[in-house]
């Protein structure tokens, strides 16, 4: 039978209705047994203008699987869809108990239901709210919807069952349910995060979604669809940078993310609420590019707006309340600053006592004792340097390191530092290259600190003694200064970490050299503050050369907006 022709056929086209004449082998099989009481009814035809269609044809036309059972529950007819769905041929099913098509567990109850239906037959859905299953010939189950209708052929009572395979719908429902559960779980996770997470869209930075912590951070509800600036102004919220400058639309991280597509990380901000309370925030605004989001437009946004059909720039905004962290950090810094001051005071008196005593012993000719005191004095100098570094690092971290720039002669400073350090060693000579005056505009004390650090490192890491060469070269961009030693050198893989805070080269060679790992970090920070660069070239066993540059500057540094 040409099913397509049947479905698509138009009246008047005789060829579409040829099945009567073309009854093939298959067609004959799909006919009730000659003795069936249904046979005449199925064969009865509906008369059209030029063609006729039998009731059986009608049944076969249905997209649903159809089954007719008699009052005894025996299958008397199934259509082709039924055969396809259950995998049985009509011959196999004819006169079988209907329950053959049910999973074992439903069979007993079904007989009972069937009898009840026969007692009060009416058209209805079967098992509303229940999940119904059919059993295929191959033993697999198929989820189905079933509609029942009483059918009377003369005085023969029967029931027509329409069965629809809902495998696809069921699986869609299931995946929808799973997706919903997943979404709920995600929202739950979002809400439980101790950081504020929000998603914003478009030029206006309208809110798409936010978690519960967002409410806590802002102290007020940012409504979905509300533009960020509108939200801020209507709630009297103000944002400041860490150095107290009011943030403008061009500097607010989330706005930068949606407008310039710029991802802003770890931006420190301060939020001030209408009631004057403040919170220190660490902001991450991640630009997620142009995306199409489903959603409801904001009330004041044209509903016909293209914005819901065209992609908008989306940004993920994470606010972290760092007020407590900052307070802890501040207290730690305060403590270190105080501790280093308190430590320096007794070192000063100890050093003075030691030197007094040493002078006296020298006068008395007690060389052995005075030599010990010289050593103590040297140790005290080391201690003083460490305390100073500790204080510097704290002030540098908090941005409180005072800078005092002036024009001075770098060559003169190099000479001073070199001479001072040469006094501390008997095995090293410091040679200077480059003469004449070399005026630079910088913080003299800090550059002095860098030089002293590089030179004392050169001395320290050249234990066998030798010449340390200091070279100054002037060029168009500024000056480059280098300190070259012939010491133990630094392994290549460690060189990049040298200027990191607290970094210390850890190997057998370096084990015997104490320190906090701050000197080079501080030097690098000082050089960077001046706009210069610092680097090292080193070969283990051959020696190291440290370089730093100071760019030409005549005017004070413009005030830096943010960061260091």
């Amino acid at each position: 039978m040409d099913e397509n022709a049947q479905l698509c056929g138009k009246g008047g086209d005789d060829s579409a209705w040829k099945h009567e004449e073309e009854k093939d082998e298959d067609e004959r099989k799909h006919t009730p047994s000659p003795h069936s009481p249904f046979e005449p009814y199925l064969a009865c035809s509906l008369q059209g203008a030029d063609n006729k269609i039998t009731f059986q044809n009608w049944l076969d036309l249905s997209p649903d699987a159809l089954v007719i059972i008699d009052s005894a529950g025996l299958i008397r007819y199934v259509n082709r869809q039924m055969e396809t769905l259950f995998g049985y041929s009509f011959q196999e099913l004819e006169n079988q108990q209907l329950e053959i098509l049910l999973p074992e567990r439903f069979r007993a109850a079904h007989i009972h239901h069937r009898e009840r239906f026969a007692a009060a037959p009416r058209i209805r859905q079967m098992g509303v709210g229940l999940e119904l299953y059919g059993l295929r010939k191959d033993g697999t189950e198929v989820p189905v919807d079933i509609s029942l209708s009483p059918l009377c052929f003369g005085d023969v009572f029967s029931v027509l069952g329409a069965i629809r395979d809902i495998t696809e719908r069921r699986s869609l429902q299931e995946s929808e349910r799973a997706a919903r559960a997943e979404l709920e779980l995600l929202q739950l996770i979002l809400d439980e995060l101790p950081i504020s997470v929000s998603l914003i869209r478009g030029e206006q930075a309208r809110l798409v979604l936010a978690n519960r912590t967002a409410l806590a951070i802002w102290g007020t509800q940012w409504h979905v669809g509300q533009p960020m600036q509108d939200f801020l102004t209507s709630n009297g919220l103000r944002l400041f940078s860490i150095d107290g400058h009011s943030l403008s639309p061009t500097t607010i991280a989330p706005l930068r993310a949606v407008r310039q597509g710029e991802t802003v990380r770890e931006h420190q901000e301060l939020i001030q609420r209408a009631d004057g309370t403040t919170t220190s925030l660490l902001v991450n605004a991640v630009a997620l590019g142009q995306r199409l989001l489903r959603g409801v437009p904001a009330p004041n946004e044209r509903s016909t707006s293209d914005s819901f059909n065209t992609a908008e720039s989306i940004a993920l905004v994470v606010h972290q309340d760092v007020t407590e962290l900052m307070e802890l950090e501040r207290r730690k810094d305060e403590f270190i600053a105080m501790a280093s001051h308190e430590l320096r005071t007794p070192v000063t008196s100890i050093k003075t006592y030691v030197q007094w005593l040493r002078r006296r012993l020298i006068k008395q000719g007690d060389e052995a004792s005075s030599a010990v005191l010289t050593k103590i004095d040297g140790e005290l100098n080391g201690l003083t340097r460490l305390i100073g570094e500790l204080l510097d690092i704290t002030q540098m971290e908090t941005g409180h390191l005072p800078w005092h720039e002036e024009t001075f002669d770098l060559n003169e400073l190099v000479r001073e530092v070199a001479e001072a350090l040469e006094h501390t060693t008997e095995r090293h000579q410091i040679k200077r290259e480059g003469q004449g005056s070399l005026p630079v505009y910088a913080d003299r004390e800090r550059i002095c600190q860098v030089l002293a650090n590089l030179l004392s490192n050169a001395i320290k890491y050249t234990p066998q003694g030798g010449t340390i060469l200091v070279r100054q070269t002037k060029h168009k961009e500024g000056v480059t200064l280098s300190v070259q030693d012939s010491g133990i050198g630094i392994p290549h893989e460690k060189q990049t970490h040298l200027f990191e805070r607290f970094y210390r080269v850890k190997d057998a060679e370096h084990e015997n050299f104490p320190g906090l790992g701050l000197g080079l970090y501080l030097s690098a920070e000082i050089v960077k503050h001046h706009g210069g660069q610092i680097w090292v070239e080193s070969e283990p066993g051959v020696g190291s050369t440290f370089f730093f540059t100071l760019p030409v500057r005549v005017d004070p540094l413009p005030v830096k907006g943010e960061g260091r």
């Binding site: 005071t345 000063t348 008196s349 007094w356 003083t384």
Partner: protein, 121 residues
């Protein structure tokens, strides 16, 4: 170096240990030493004035920089040499700014101290 009459040095330093160590060094050098651990009395300073003042800039309650400026602003005390003391690395600049004659960075070397004594007494 030292004159015939014993010279007087005033130490204004709120840390007793440092003041004491300084006093030992100075007395060893045959100076007459006076120690003030607060600076309140500075405004009633009368002649004969000390020959040299060691002034700490971080004094409890009072600022050594202010005291220095004021002493240098008064005709009577203008000529008394003042040496500013501090652990602050910016001391040379501060000393210049407040009109001190010289500075001594803590912790100091005895040689540096003796040089200053030579220079100002």
């Amino acid at each position: 170096m030292k004159g015939t009459a014993q010279k007087t040095i005033l130490i204004i330093e709120d840390h007793a240990g440092i003041a004491d160590a300084l006093r030992m060094v100075l007395e060893e050098e045959d100076y007459h030493v006076e120690v003030w651990i607060t600076a309140e009395a500075v405004y009633s300073l009368q002649a004969p004035f000390p020959d040299l003042i060691f002034l700490d800039i971080l004094l409890g309650g009072m600022d050594g920089k202010v005291i220095c400026r004021q002493l240098k602003g008064l005709p009577a005390t203008r000529s008394v040499p003042i040496i500013l003391m501090s652990a602050n690395k910016q001391l040379p600049r501060i000393a210049r700014e407040v009109g001190a004659d010289d500075w001594l960075l803590k912790p100091f070397e005895l040689d540096a101290l003796l040089e200053l004594l030579d220079k100002y007494t």
